[in-house]
């Protein structure tokens, strides 16, 4: 928990450009399933576009996956790799992308 708070404090203390870069870097690996910058590459994609989704919605869903409150085929296992500060950074970055 201490680490989480520290990570959150560190992330929040970064200047805006660095925060954006941190969010971008955390989100970039997700593109293998969710598409570059959160825009699905496949017209019949079973995944909803993350780009431009409300920030709170993304963060809430990630926490629900992580905490086992929303069933999933894969996201319950992946979300467990991210702390609250990282989830907030990912959510903020995707929310700021054009749809």
């Amino acid at each position: 928990m201490k680490t989480l708070i520290l990570a959150a404090a560190l992330l929040a203390a970064l200047p805006a450009a660095a925060q954006t870069t941190a969010g971008r870097n955390l989100a970039a690996p997700c593109a293998i399933c969710h598409g570059t910058e959160g825009r699905p590459a496949v017209s019949e994609s079973p995944l909803i576009p993350l780009a431009g989704l409300p920030r709170d919605h993304i963060a809430t869903q990630m926490r629900a996956f992580r905490d086992g409150k929303r069933p999933a085929t894969v996201m319950h296992q992946i979300a467990k790799g991210y702390n609250d500060a990282q989830i907030d950074a990912i959510a903020a970055w995707y929310a700021a992308q054009r749809r």
Partner: protein
């Protein structure tokens, strides 16, 4: 200027002229990155460098005109996908401003920061990315190279002409024949790949030539990835068709008698698919980037920079894998993002921050059903490597058609994320 240098100077002039003709003249860039190899790692790195800093000039050196994907190539072998499904051109990267150089790198001079091209002289760089994929240690299996050259023993472990040839052999095999798949000791490209291949070929036999057999000879003591899920699928779907033998290492092949020699016995087959042990691709060897066991390239996982050559970043299957990190397309694509982010920072005079990355690999166990493994990898400052985040990752609960749908989505999406 001696004769050798003059010739190189002229070649470099020709390469520069070709780039100018490609519409790049007059653009001023702050730095040039050369990327060697247009697979999942190299293509992704080229694209993301342009996305994240358009002031960087990016040249991608690739010998092939089209990309051919290993993921989904097993479905081609099973007859459930076509070669066209796994191939695409490089126009997507051109749209991002990546300059394609259709050539092969023969040497790297990390001190002078140049790469030598087989056809077109030298290219200078500020940062170099090498994403060489794998090549094979054929010598570890006696008789392999002549057997492969005769066309009677194939690996098909790089998607392309051998994929087509192996599919043809499977189609031509008599009903009642034996397809032998020999798997090398880990680490090798795509840990679950051989078991997926055995599964989808067993499905093909079950439908089209039901008296035939799939015989898996694994040098490893047991299935190296998603073992429980694969074994359950084999028991339920392919009883009497698929036989798995662990700790069965191939030491020789004989094309004349269609025999795979193991340490304790000889095994005959009608189609011999023997996958030799791997190492980092030839270009890594020629460039002096191999650091470990004469096989793999060790890197700084914060930047993918080579431990052997400063200013050179190595990606993908060629790397000395971090703990619990598979040699996979997902990982190569993610390595590329580490390198791209680090290079943007370094060229901007800043210190790169480590990235947290993730792996997801789907495997088909039949035409439509798939299983999955995932992991999340974060920088560990004490151990100076990327490590799996405790509590994260895992495998599918069961094989399902829904996972098959996600598998196709993953494939199409990672192709687009890497090349589109």
């Amino acid at each position: 200027m001696n004769k050798f240098e003059r010739r190189d100077f002229l070649k470099l002039g020709a390469a520069a002229a070709a780039l100018a003709a490609a519409g790049c003249a007059g653009t001023s860039y702050k730095a040039r990155v050369v990327v060697v190899g247009g697979g999942f790692g190299g293509a992704t790195a080229a694209k993301y460098l342009r996305l994240w800093d358009p002031a960087i000039e990016v040249l991608l050196v690739e010998r092939a005109n089209v990309f051919t994907s290993c993921p989904i190539s097993n479905l081609v072998l099973g007859g459930f996908a076509k070669m066209d499904d796994i191939r695409q051109g490089y126009d997507g990267l051109r749209r991002h401003g990546v300059q394609l150089v259709n050539d092969e790198v023969t040497a790297v001079d990390a001190a002078k920061k140049t790469v030598r091209l087989e056809r077109g002289g030298d290219l200078s760089y500020d940062r170099l990315i090498v994403s060489p994929g794998i090549d094979f240690n054929f010598g570890e299996i006696q008789g392999y190279e002549p057997a492969m050259q005769s066309g009677r023993v194939l690996h098909a472990w790089k998607a392309g002409s051998q994929t087509i040839d192996l599919r043809r052999q499977l189609e031509q095999m008599r009903d009642g024949g034996v397809y032998v798949l020999s798997i090398p000791l880990a680490p090798y490209r795509c840990p679950p790949g051989p078991y997926e291949r055995a599964s989808v070929i067993a499905e093909y036999f079950k439908r089209s030539k039901p008296r035939s057999k799939v015989l898996v000879l694994d040098a490893n003591p047991d299935v190296t990835s998603k073992a429980g899920l694969f074994k359950a699928a084999w028991k339920d779907l392919y009883p009497g068709i698929l036989e798995y033998r662990g700790a069965n290492k191939a030491i020789a092949v004989d094309a004349a008698t269609m025999t795979v020699k193991l340490e304790v016995e000889d095994v005959k087959g009608d189609v011999l698919n023997v996958v030799p042990p791997h190492r980092a691709g030839d270009v890594a060897m020629k460039s002096g980037l191999i650091t470990t066991n004469n096989r793999w390239c060790d890197v700084d996982w914060r930047s993918m920079e080579s431990k052997a050559a400063p200013g050179v970043h190595v990606l993908g299957d060629a790397t000395l894998s971090a703990p619990a990190m598979p040699k996979s397309a997902s990982m190569a694509n993610n390595h590329a993002k580490i390198a791209a982010a680090a290079i943007v920072e370094l060229l901007g005079g800043r210190t790169p921050e480590p990235l947290q990355i993730l792996n997801t690999c789907y495997s088909f166990v039949s035409q439509k059903e798939a299983i999955r493994v995932s992991s999340v990898h974060a920088w560990d400052d004490k151990e100076r490597t990327l490590k799996a985040v405790p509590g994260s990752g895992g495998i599918s609960a069961a094989r399902t058609e829904a996972e098959g749908t996600f598998a196709w989505n993953w494939a199409r999406t990672i192709w687009a994320d890497s090349l589109g």
